[in-house]
Amino acid sequence: MRAAVVSFPGSNRERDIVMALERASGKKPVVVWHGEAEIPDCDLIVLPGGFSYGDYLRAGAMAAHSPAMKELKRKAAQGVPVLGVCNGFQILTEAGLLPGALMRNASLKFVCRQVHLRVEESQSLFTNAYEKGQVIRVPVAHADGNYTADPETLKHMEDRGLVAFRYVTADGRTDPATNPNGSIHAIAGIFNETKTVLGLMPHPEDATDPDAGGMDGFGMFKSLVDALH
């Protein structure tokens, strides 16, 4: 699997995801600077976490209009898979590649902690190494992760199985007390219509090392390698 990671001014978890991709695929991903109009041929494009443009105006708003994003949209339309983590998820919603929006956390505070996620859909490029309903433990670290969408969009996503991950308790129940940001329906990650684009707020890349954060996030990268070779 050849992956390209797009880096923006203010990205700060690109190294984390580069390491995770490399551990899973054995290949070093290409890092593409946001100002470049071309993304080299690849099997997967990744938007990393961070604070592109300082999160000024709205998280992800300015990055969504960079030259590399134009190219990303073109490739995504051709079916190249796209993964957006944290700030990457925010950029994907701002760019219109995923529905809904990410607002300020309900607590109004940045939150960094380990959370439990329930894998809602294992039939995808991104999640095939997990069982449906499996609970995994990965960290979150964000101030604007409060997912929202209008009722029709939500119903459509729920009906079509486009909710990828939900915040749950350690034993897999949804509970407002374990929802770190107030997201509607406890949504942590979503797919696009064709399940070729995934955006999620938590950081599976920071749970791919047995000595730091555990291995629960490794399944996502293994899924991608298995699907994309």
């Binding site: 708003a61 209009h65 809904g100 929006a101 956390n105 409060n146 929202t148 107030g182």
Partner: protein, 80 residues
């Protein structure tokens, strides 16, 4: 030509910051504040001198960048 833009959350979208401010106001003894909605205010200096063209330009800016129309609405005022 100056333009001002007000960006606010659409009615019905939860505004936790507005709620927190409302809570703080009642804590300070300002009774009777039934709702607070927080937004952004932007001032732009434009080279354009035609009002109608300026307004069209700024509206395009709002649609494309300044507001996220999934959750936000905007209002444009063109000054002198």
């Amino acid at each position: 030509m100056k333009a001002t833009v007000h960006v606010t959350l659409k009615p019905g979208v939860l505004d936790p910051q507005g709620q927190a401010i409302g809570h703080a106001l009642s804590g300070l003894g300002f009774a009777g504040v039934t709702s607070v909605r927080m937004g952004k205010f932007l001032e732009l200096d434009l080279a354009e001198t035609d009002r109608a063209k300026a307004e069209a330009q700024v509206k395009a800016m709002c649609e494309k960048l300044l507001a996220n129309t999934v959750i936000e609405s905007y209002r444009v005022e063109i000054g002198s």
